[in-house]
Amino acid sequence: MPLVDTAPSPPAHRGGSGPATAAPPPKAPLRTRLWAARWSYLYILPLLALLLTFVVYPIFGSLVYTFYRWNGIGEPSDFVGLDNFRQIAHDSIFWDSVAHTFVYAIVVVPVQLVIALALALVLNNKKLRFSAFYRTLFFLPVVTSPAVVGVVVQLMLSNFGDTFNSWLLDAHIIDTPVDWLGNPRIAMGIIILVGIWQTLGYNLVYFLAGLQTIPEEINEAARIDGAGPVRTFLHITVPMLRSVGLMIVILAFIGSFQVFDLVQVLTNGGPYFGTEVVNTYIYHLAFGGNQAAATQPDVGLASAASFFYGLLLIGFSVLQVLIFRSIAKRRAAGRG
């Protein structure tokens, strides 16, 4: 049983059995309300314009291309109806790339959240010296471009891969040298490790912000009641971080599903599509091969894949929200 009741009190107007509440004051006309908030609207206008130009317009702009076979040169003219969607739905490489993306997200998110929360708890300790320095240190990878990180990791592996192999062989951990990015499982593991390290800072900062919203008096009260650090963490910190935590989980999953640059630079989705994620799959369709292996790009197919994946993600997000709501309802019912 929790030492301190951290559940929010039910609002007075929620149940019919509660005390009668006064009727809300009549709303001002829409025009008046808009005018009153004009500065707020003005301030969000630039962001809205950017969003419409670079997110909304391209989404609907590329919808047209999904119905054409088009290599991106000139105007599309070869109408194929829903063939592109059919082709994507029957492409095993696409489904493999979906699986790789989910594996990436499912491993990265929980591991990263646990590490981020642990680090946030340490950094939130007011007695810790140089905490600002550590925060900067952990946040630094976030502001580093994933493409640059990918290039550096690739160079490290190619230049020191032999040395790593020698150490592992000497320690009898392996019996044949490892081709670090040439083995799809190891390559995926490296991508996941780098992904965890590179975006850890975001979640760390979110958790720190969440921790700082917990009133110190509650922790103090728990300590007076004789709770140790573990019980305080389990019965105070975790419940009070719940709402922030849910948002962090959702954002972390969304971010992980969008993994692209790290994979593109580190492995280009290879070997043999072994690390292909959906965004690199789409990119390879849209931009074809390279000078060495020139192939005709297919922008129509890439657009269809993009839409198809978008629909899958919407489905996943809805499912995520429904699960969270169901958990919240069950908890509320358990308390009530």
Binding site: I93, S158, D162, D179, L181, N183, P271, G289, N290, Q296
Partner: protein, 484 residues
Amino acid sequence: MSPISRRGFLTASAALGGGLTACSSSSAKSTPSGTRTVTHWDWFVSQEPWIKNEIAVFEKANPKIRIKRTVQVSDKYPDLINLAFRGGDAPDFFQIPSTPAFPDQVAQGWLEPLDARATAAWQSRFPQGSFFNGVDMVDGKVYSAPFGGAAPWLQLYIHNGLFKQAGITNPDGSVKLPRTWDDVTLAAEAITKKSGGKAHGIGFGNAQNATLTWWIELFVRGAGSPAGYGTDGPDYRVGKWTFGSDRNYADFLTLLLEWKKKGYIYPSAMSIGDEQARAFFERGKFGITVGGVWNQPTWAEHHFSDYSLTTLPSPTTTPKAFFYYPPGGRVFGVSKAAALTDEAWAWFDHLHSVEAGRRWVEAGQGLSVFPRANDQAKITSPQFQQYVDTRRYALPWPVPAIRNPEVSQVVVPAVKPDLPDVTAGLYTGQLKDMGAALSALEDRRNKALADGVKAAQAKGAKVGLADYVFADWDPTKPYVNKPA
């Protein structure tokens, strides 16, 4: 108080914006002094010293013209040039990308027809039969011109030091160059075993998913498969790709996997790129690699010359098929959007001069299309001389677009997985059944060709799969292309 005033901030922003605008890759401009600037795009890296020198020579001879060169990343060049044309920011002069198909580039209005300037007199500087539809011409109009001379584009590079260390030498102490597949295997084994784990027999850098196919290209041609890895066309004897039905492909891939299994191949070959592999070869991490003549300038820059080369290793000592080239050729083109067509043409003319070709050869970049520029007396590098000596292994081959120009309208769609993917899958063990994988690839490629032909027919082109069959072609002899 803020250290910068609002007015100051706005002024700085305006200046920065103006500066950035000035820096943008705009098309040709003239300055008040009358100097005109031609914008130029290419993807030359190891060829950079040569192109920079050509710019200097050209600008000295044409003081009123400046060449503003932009080097683009090679593997994204087709996307970048496409975006530049779509965005109205195309260069005046550019290296012609590998995709889209050349006739598509002309149809999209990327290239300026050069007939008014590339007159019959101008064309006469090139060897006879250098201009053909589908190669450097489209619909009878000239859009480009040949530049390089024909020689095998891939060689087997041998690290002399490692070969000598492993005792692979001739009686006179010189390095014994491998001629057959068995020679390569024995050399790889000797180097790997005698180096005590410090070096491997074979190495490459397949991070860009391209170099493994170079090995296929080099080895199966020697075995008698003239299509190589098939990017330039199918086996024209039958008009089809034959990855599954021609056993040379499976035989070589089996040998490759054998080398891997026995530990002859540098273990991180799939993790490193070609540039890194080139550096590792130089450092003696492996004794044999496959690459092109473009390796040589970089090694020369690093003062590394302890290597030799050969080409077309075969199951027997005599190659049964060679490297092939179409008559004519194309490297550069003048943009139709060029504001300064005369100046861009002057630059085009300069690069296609005998003198520029001679400097290309002297710089060890390759051979020139002009026989008189390939002056062997001026070649100082023994390795480049070895490369020049391989010329006999490059022959003209059939070009369907010369026999039937309407073939140019066929666009063969991409297949996925393609040969680079399948090879990587087999190498890493992700694909287990080699025969099935190669047969499926053969079917995909041939279906793509049939689809391309069908699409062209639907648009009214008079083409058929028979246009790709040259039953009279003997891959060991030069093919004489004749317009229908």
